[in-house]
């Protein structure tokens, strides 16, 4: 038990190895359902609990459906950040960290899919999410609201995950979005003070 303030050193894993561990966890999740039976109403990511229920009811691994919904969520918010940067040059640079973050998260989830767990493709991003946002400030506000929603949905997905390994990954993603939002707010405050 480390009882010093020294940084905990996580086991050295490549990202691929970590993702492979998730896949193994998903494969074994069904066998572990007896001690992970507590589910949470309203804990699904975008698409609601109906999509999850359909997959589970069909006998599929609920975590596979969960990952697909998370991918859709991340693809949507990435599309919004990209659209905002395209429409407003002044937002292109400031929003790059959000785009990089979501791409990194999607890459991990994509690794998971290509490692062998089949699933439906993520829905294409909804176009025109910025309609009505006529200024950079309005577009940024809309993105921040959307990012907060993504943070909450990732947290909900972490709680809903059957696999503990997947839960940890999704919780980390949620924390990363919250951290990036906080960093952006600090930068904005520093710029206006």
């Amino acid at each position: 038990m480390p009882a010093s303030p020294r940084r905990r050193t996580a086991p050295v894993l490549t990202r691929r190895a970590a993702v492979t561990a998730i896949v193994a966890g998903l494969a074994g999740a069904s066998a572990c359902d007896d001690h992970r039976s507590t589910r949470h109403a309203g804990s699904g990511v975008s698409g609601g609990s109906g999509a999850s229920g359909g997959s589970a009811a069909a006998g599929g691994d609920p975590d596979v459906a969960l990952v697909e919904r998370v991918r859709t969520e991340l693809a949507d918010v990435l599309a919004l950040a990209t659209e905002a940067g395209t429409r407003f040059d002044s937002l292109r640079g400031p929003l790059r960290p959000f785009r990089d973050l979501h791409r990194a998260h999607l890459a991990v989830l994509d690794d998971h899919r290509s490692t062998g767990s089949a699933g439906a493709s993520a829905a294409p991003p909804a176009p025109g999410q910025l309609s009505g946002a006529h200024s950079p400030a309005a577009a940024l506000h809309r993105l921040v609201v959307r990012e907060r929603l993504t943070q909450a949905r990732l947290a909900d997905a972490a709680v809903a995950a059957e696999s503990g390994t997947l839960a940890r990954l999704l919780a980390s993603m949620s924390a990363a979005v919250g951290q990036r939002l906080a960093a952006t707010a600090r930068t904005t405050e520093a710029g206006t003070s």
Partner: protein, 144 residues
Amino acid sequence: MTEIEALQAVLAAEHAAVYVYGVLGGQASQSAQPALFSSVSDAYATHRSRRDLLTGEITDLGAHPVAAAAAYDVPDALGGPAAIARTARRLEDGCAAAYAALVESTTAHRRRWAVGALGDAAVRVLAFRGTPEMFPGAGEYTDH
């Protein structure tokens, strides 16, 4: 790692945080570095509260909460704000990793609480000049 083992690991991290933040609070100047002093004070209060909560949780589960060590390693040279911030960042990184492990080892309400604590630790790092990460508490997913 079992749920109780993960809880004990988080409690151990919180014991260390309470101790070290106490030391840092004595090193930060309230007048010369008010923002840093405030961040250290807030962190100390938060970790103390979490330590007490975890102690109760573990006791309620019928286990003996891990005790605090008599002392913890604190860098000798804490002479300035940079060293204080660096030490605080290490503490928060350690707590984030412990809470991420708790997420993995728990379910339901306890897991949700751990998710929130992980998020708090990730944000608190910023108060100590930390930079955002792609995977707080789960750095093995980051490409190097």
